[in-house]
Symmetry: none
Subunit: 186 residues, 4 copies
Amino acid sequence: MAGSTKDSLMQAAVRLFAAKGIDGTTTREIAAAAGVTEGAIYRHFVGKEALVEEIFHRHYLPFAAELDAARGTAEGAEAELRAVVRRVYAAFDRDRDLFAFLLLAQHGPMRRIADGAATPVRVIEKLVRAGQRAGTIRRMDARLATQIVLGAVLQPATGSLYGEVSPPLIAIADQVAEAAWRAIAG
Amino acid sequence: MAGSTKDSLMQAAVRLFAAKGIDGTTTREIAAAAGVTEGAIYRHFVGKEALVEEIFHRHYLPFAAELDAARGTAEGAEAELRAVVRRVYAAFDRDRDLFAFLLLAQHGPMRRIADGAATPVRVIEKLVRAGQRAGTIRRMDARLATQIVLGAVLQPATGSLYGEVSPPLIAIADQVAEAAWRAIAG
Amino acid sequence: MAGSTKDSLMQAAVRLFAAKGIDGTTTREIAAAAGVTEGAIYRHFVGKEALVEEIFHRHYLPFAAELDAARGTAEGAEAELRAVVRRVYAAFDRDRDLFAFLLLAQHGPMRRIADGAATPVRVIEKLVRAGQRAGTIRRMDARLATQIVLGAVLQPATGSLYGEVSPPLIAIADQVAEAAWRAIAG
Amino acid sequence: MAGSTKDSLMQAAVRLFAAKGIDGTTTREIAAAAGVTEGAIYRHFVGKEALVEEIFHRHYLPFAAELDAARGTAEGAEAELRAVVRRVYAAFDRDRDLFAFLLLAQHGPMRRIADGAATPVRVIEKLVRAGQRAGTIRRMDARLATQIVLGAVLQPATGSLYGEVSPPLIAIADQVAEAAWRAIAG
DNA sequence: CATGAATGAGCATTCATTCAT
DNA sequence: AATGAATGAATGCTCATTCAT
């Protein structure tokens, strides 16, 4: 299959980035983990930064679209939120390394890239604003409400990475969705 | 004045770490920002890692103690939570760089250090368990409830660093405390 | 050609080590003398110390074996000593830098390595003990007799490095061998 | 007493130089071993090199004079040699560190300094030339004969530093002197 | 005399990247 | 496509030395 080495590199990079950070991971380590030499990286990516960006693009924006689609299938803000949380935790359970990478990449060099785009944050914000218009979500700053929900949902995922919460996360999805809902319900 | 250079170094380091990450900040940069040469770092710290650890120790554990004290002055879990959130946001407003550093250092090399100790996380957990015993907080996994509250409180701080929420945070402390409370209230 | 850069590095290192000592020679200088950049050193050696050790291993123990072989071809301790001295001085004339390096490395970090092994010192000691059993060498502490012979043979080589004795040393090999022999003959 | 710190520094330096070489010993280590701070070194010496030179001057040339005096009290080359060896080994037994330093300093930066001067080497050479004139020492290149004797005498000292020969050396002085004498006797 | 903080040049080593094969 | 050798800049750190106190 075409791109086998490229995939190995991206997979190895995700694992290492999740464990040691982007700056803390060297090209040598990535190559070694993928079973190739450093030079091979540059056959598939312009450089380390491009490798990071490609992983991010390949997963972050599609993930936002996936989330938005899940939201669209539900009726009412509460059901939408439950659908979104389920989808987030399913993604987490599917590939923890990738999720951890996405979590930390947002604080790093990916800030600009994710700026205007349809990110997961914007999906939740849309949901919040619709709920407020419908009167089911309390009147408060929508950006703030979004951050509160985001934190309530993502922090258990982070906590799971560090052993504070037991996997799989899908098992607690509805519980968290309900808690997040009460936090902002009108 | 005692410790002037050492303090300059720590202050400069916090600012740079918050902006570019620990691995992304060089000793050269820290020294330049503090107005000294690199060698001076090593008169005050064993190495870069020791500098990171000293900043962490000097602020993280004391911060947890401060939080626990704030919690102790309030009556009932709801009031306790409000007091804790106020204290957290006051700390954030006081020194955003330091708060940002503390936030990211937890994911990095500080994990072990903060392990058993009386961390902010444990302060909230204590509050949650007490509330559950008193029947004011819903019966659910205490660790999970802690993570939900933690996320609801800290994510707005993170969002503030990235322009999603307007400073000062103290202005929204009670609002957030109330939202976090509803999320877990019985 | 195999190992060209590696060989250049080792050759350059030997020359510089002989002239300025191991601690007194920098990786910068070695790389420059070999016509490469510093980084190239680390493709071939784990570090500076490993470079020193590899030079030592590649020459010191083989040299001991060569000496032992020369000893084995002669009959009687006196002839053996003459054969050994000839071989030592031939090696010196062949590569003075290498010999100088071997001489000084023995006092430095190579002490342990050469400890139990079949070193040149042990070759001479074997010769001495055999001579004593045969009655051609005086009864005295074999270790001491070995050191006396060793000094009588090596000091002219050291002296040659400093202009006290004219090269080539092979020209005085028999003379020195005879003097060393008389020193310990029965 | 005046010069107490200076003496401590020189004594500490000798010990460290003997153990780790001159380049391998740092000013920090010397200061620490002497119980002062680095700055104190520069109150007594222009720099590290001056410290090395002062130790060398204070001991090497006086030692040569002592040797020459010892030689002068004996009658005939053989007796002279015995007197010299006794004095050398007595010096070794008195301060092994100092002797080891002197031994290695000769290969290092002290070469020029010791060049024209009345060094121990020249004392032995004088003895050899006189013996050759008197007919008691074989006719051979005097510089070579000097090196042979030098090696036969000093190598057991070096060997003693490395555990090949048991101290005290004064116990084997006459034995070594006799061996060295036979090596060059007519 | 001695300290302790600071310097600035230099150290061994590592990095992301290039390129001939 | 991939390798393996090489680069050159940068990294964290150490060195001998200086100097105000």
